[in-house]
Each structure stands twice: as C-alpha cells, then as structure tokens.
C-alpha cells in the first residue's frame, strides 16, 4: 500500500490554490447564464447534458452519505 507521508493530499490547499479561479468562473457563469435562448435543435442535447449532470450530483451525494454512515455521523 502506498504511503502518503510525503504526498499527502492536502484538500484545503487545493481549494485555496483554485479559489481565485473559481471566483472568476463564477463571474463568467453569471454572465453566461443570462443567455437563455437555446436553438430548438440544441434543446435535446442540452436536456441530455443536464441529465448527466444531475446523475453526477446524485452519485456525489451518495458518496457523502456513505462516508457519513461509516463514521457514524
């Protein structure tokens, strides 16, 4: 089993490292979200992508529940 003594995953550090990038991304998302006109031919593809994202969110939430369950939270 690999040891992590010299390669710890520092999640907090990663979050800080990318914090500024996320802030800029937020700005872009907000301005982009104002364009709600979707061509009809793209609607189906968009619906499919939204379904994929919803399934990813569902999986992510289940992982959180699994962690909490084993820790007795």
């Amino acid at each position: 089993m690999e040891k992590y003594s010299s390669h710890q995953i520092d999640i907090k550090q990663l979050e800080r490292f990318l914090g500024d990038a996320i802030e800029e991304a937020n700005t872009e998302v907000d301005s982009d979200s104002q364009s709600n006109d979707i061509a009809p031919e793209l609607a189906t593809e968009r619906a499919y992508e939204m379904q994929l994202v919803a399934e990813i969110v569902d999986i992510s939430e289940k992982l959180q529940v699994a962690r909490q369950r084993v820790r007795g939270d």
Binding site: M1, I9, L18, A25, V29, E49, I59, S60, Q64, R71
Partner: protein, 130 residues
Amino acid sequence: MARYSILKSLGKLASLPGKRPLSQLSERELIQRESEIGRQIFGPIKKGHRREFFNTSPKVWIWHEEWLDSAGKRHQLTTKYEIRDHDIWKVQPGPRYTKLSGDELTNFKRAVEVYFERVMREIYDTEHNV
C-alpha cells in the same frame, strides 16, 4: 448471526493489513482511500507520475497529476470539476475554465460511475447500481 458478523469483520481486517476500521477514519482519510481507487480507473500510471482523482463534496471533484520531465523537474496540474446549477465547470490554473459538454462530459460521467461502483464495493462494502 453474531458469530457470522464477527467472522465477516475479521475477514475484512485480514484483507486490509495495517488499516484501521473505517469508523475511525476521518473524512479526509476516507477520501484518500477513495483516491487510491480513483487513480486507477484511467489506466496505468507511468513511472514517475502520480495521479489522484477523488470527490470532496457533492459539488466538487478533483483530478491531480504530478510528473517528472526528462530533466527530473517535477510538474503538477490540478483540475477542479465544479458542479454549478446544471453544468460542470473544469477549472485549471491560469485561471482557465471550461464548461464540460459533449464527449468530455460523457466521459467524465462514466469515470464518476466507475469510481462510485468501485468505491462502494471495495471500501464501503455496498453494492450500488447507478
């Protein structure tokens, strides 16, 4: 029933030498265990490379890659996948941000599925079909 449960628990401990029970691990340690699986699902890792792929919250997935170039210099790239409303944004240093779509989104979804199936089966001992 109780005896079966004890034997089952002993079997788990025997298959995980040197590992503490899951209930004693912090959330971060659980995520580290998950990443041991996450790093495997994209194929072999070259010598000198290090890869991590893990989920930190219902809205965030992280990909981290480190490697040595021919001069022995270490490089690293961290990509954060942030779920925002009905989209997933890929955020990289720079900053660069890209909304996942098309094949990239499909492939990411598949990677998340494989991660979930293996993590639930190999760590949390639960069968889940997505």
